[in-house]
């Protein structure tokens, strides 16, 4: 007897995989890495209430994922400084490809597809040179490595395709690390983060930096509005008692601005922005802080903080049916400011990744 999974895996091996769509995978709203109660690590497809639709084992702790724009394929990245990323068929569970970082490179945990899903871009560290790189993988040919270019800075983390479909925005966190010394930060005295806009062939189109007093505010995570406005979450590497924003907004051609509010509300974020997302039709923006146990809400037009919601160990943020949702390391999936949608024994990892084809 042929099981469905066995049959599909057989087809995959023969190179005859049907092009399964996200609907075939149960139309997940989000992907998230997580740790199951038994301590194993998986990539999960979640419905709009955060209930797992499927789970696919991954060998180690994950971080973020990239969802193919059409096919039910997800790239699950290892937590940095990981050397692997798995491309998974989210219907059959089959491993379509395994991306291994080339010699002298490791992944940072994020990647983005181009609009047609032909090329996957991954943020990487050329750790001997201490320079960020963007790796290119051919998603139409078994995820073969087809090239790389500079990320425009040090320590690239999140990467997104801009709404024009012709450029990328990269959060160069500025922090140099080397796999020999784990996650120890090697260059704090001279670190300089930036937002780099790159063409799909690697030309640097624009580099945005915060003013000098933010030199130690590492830009890590991004979200985009349809009109190209970029929201970026930052992690302060200086003194904890320093008051620094965790969220900024940038539009190409203009200087970046910090989202601010009353001192007590800014302090409550512990200088640590986790995930960031536009919601309410792009009028508002949310940033999470697992260290502060908060989701902070702001008005985009004024750049001012308007409120906060406490959620223990929160990090992942998403929007579904117009509502802002958040996932946490304690397994809670909640409508921010509303009811808990689901609880599970799975510790949800840092990010909820929206599945556009879902």
């Amino acid at each position: 007897m042929t099981t469905r999974r066995g049959f599909l895996v057989g087809l995959a091996a023969a190179g005859l995989t049907p092009r399964a769509s996200w609907a075939d995978a149960g139309a997940p709203a989000f992907l998230s890495a997580g740790r199951a109660a038994d301590g194993s690590y998986n990539l999960y497809g979640l419905d709009t209430d955060g209930r797992p639709l499927f789970q696919l084992p991954i060998p180690d702790r994950g971080h973020a994922a990239a969802a193919h724009p059409e096919r039910a394929e997800a790239v699950a990245f290892a937590r940095r400084p990981g050397r692997f990323a798995l491309v998974l068929n989210c219907v059959s569970g089959a491993e379509i490809a395994r991306l291994s970082a080339p010699e002298g490179r490791h992944f940072y945990g994020h990647g983005a597809f181009d609009a047609e899903g032909r090329t996957l871009f991954t943020t990487e560290n050329d750790y001997e040179a201490g320079q960020g790189r963007i790796g290119l993988w051919d998603a139409s040919a078994g995820y073969r490595r087809i090239g790389e270019f500079g990320s425009g800075g040090v320590g690239p983390h999140d990467i997104r395709l801009m709404p024009d479909g012709k450029s990328l925005v990269v959060a160069n966190g500025g922090v140099e690390t080397h796999p020999d010394t784990g996650r120890v930060k090697l260059n704090l005295p001279v670190m300089q983060p930036n937002l780099s806009y790159l063409s799909l062939t690697g030309e640097v189109l624009e580099v945005a930096q915060m003013p000098p007093e933010h030199r130690m505010n590492s830009i890590r995570h991004l979200d985009l509005r349809a009109d190209g406005l970029v929201a970026f979450a930052m992690q302060w590497q200086g003194e904890t008692s320093d008051l620094r924003p965790v969220l900024g907004l940038h539009r190409r051609g203009a200087p970046p601005i910090a989202v601010t509010g009353p001192e007590a509300e800014m302090r409550a974020m512990s200088g640590y922005g986790g995930s960031v997302i536009f919601y309410d039709g792009g009028r508002r923006v949310a940033v999470s802080s697992p260290r502060g146990g908060l989701v902070q809400l702001s008005d985009v037009a004024t750049g001012r903080i308007t409120g906060e919601v406490a959620i223990t160990d929160v990090c992942g943020l998403g929007v579904t049916g117009g509502a802002l949702v958040a996932s946490s390391g304690s397994g809670v999936f909640t409508r921010v400011g509303g009811e808990v949608a689901s609880r599970s024994a799975i510790a949800w990892d840092n990010h909820l990744v929206a599945v556009n084809g879902g």
């Binding site: 201490g130 140099e176 120890v184 260059n187 001279v190 003194e239 008692s241 160990d313 510790a347």
Partner: protein, 331 residues
Amino acid sequence: MKQLVALILCLVAATASADPVGRVLDSHVLPGFARLAKETASLAAAAEVGCDERDPDLRAALNGALRAWAGVSHLRFGPTEAENRAFALAFWPDSRGMTPKALAGLIAAEDPVVRDAQTFAQVSVAARGLYALEFLLYDEDPAGSDAYRCALIRAIARDSAGLAQAMAADWHDRYAALMRAPGPDSPYRSQDEAMQELFKALGTGLQITADLRLGRPMGTFDKPRPKRAEAWRAGLSLSLVIAALNSQKQLALMLAEGDAGLQERLGATFDRALASAAALDDPALAGVATPDGRVRVEALQQRVNEIRELVAQELGPELGVSAGFNALDGD
């Protein structure tokens, strides 16, 4: 009389345990920075007397200052970090080789910044502080004129003494009081928060010792990096590991006060690491380049990681530090 002494001792003990932050400040933090200020002042004085690179008194004074820094290098918050002091006093690791380049630039140009302390404070942090001085005192191929190098050595030594003095004064005159009196006017809302800051400093210090002081020269088995050891030119790498462990042991025992069992386990675990370091007989950690030597350094690193484990698993929960899946991840 005996009873009175006993009574006073009890009172002192009671006051002490009611103010654990104050005890750490008085017995660990403030003396550590006072020592750093004293050792760097001696260094500046030694440079005035003799600025020849090979002067044994000057080299000994630098060793003393580096050991004093290792003893407080885990306390990287508050006055230590303010105004970039720690970056300027201790630019290490130098992952991109900026220190030799920055010094070569000053020497080649005979840059007059060395003449004035205030202007010298504007030069790149890579050319300032104790590790820049170590490079100059042990550079096997010194460039430039003797007179300029002398002026540069004196400028760096004076600047280092000034930075250490500023740290010590700021700790003593300002920040200690803020830690002792948590509340709305302090960076700490409660005594627990101040204790947690000290706990975090202990954890970070142990991580620096395991991952940087030992891990950086170890590199990988196929590619050991002996010249990435801290102060390898001065042959101080292992000695700084020992100085850091001794100081962090003192802090750990104070943070565990009130739990004699944990104190005993912490003491024993630190002592195993210190014994492993003492037995290593490899001052610059150059042994990492040989398979045998590397195994021994790795064993010491493992001992330090055992301390980290114990600190995270037992001391953390005791001080109310919880381990969130995302909150402690940092990514």
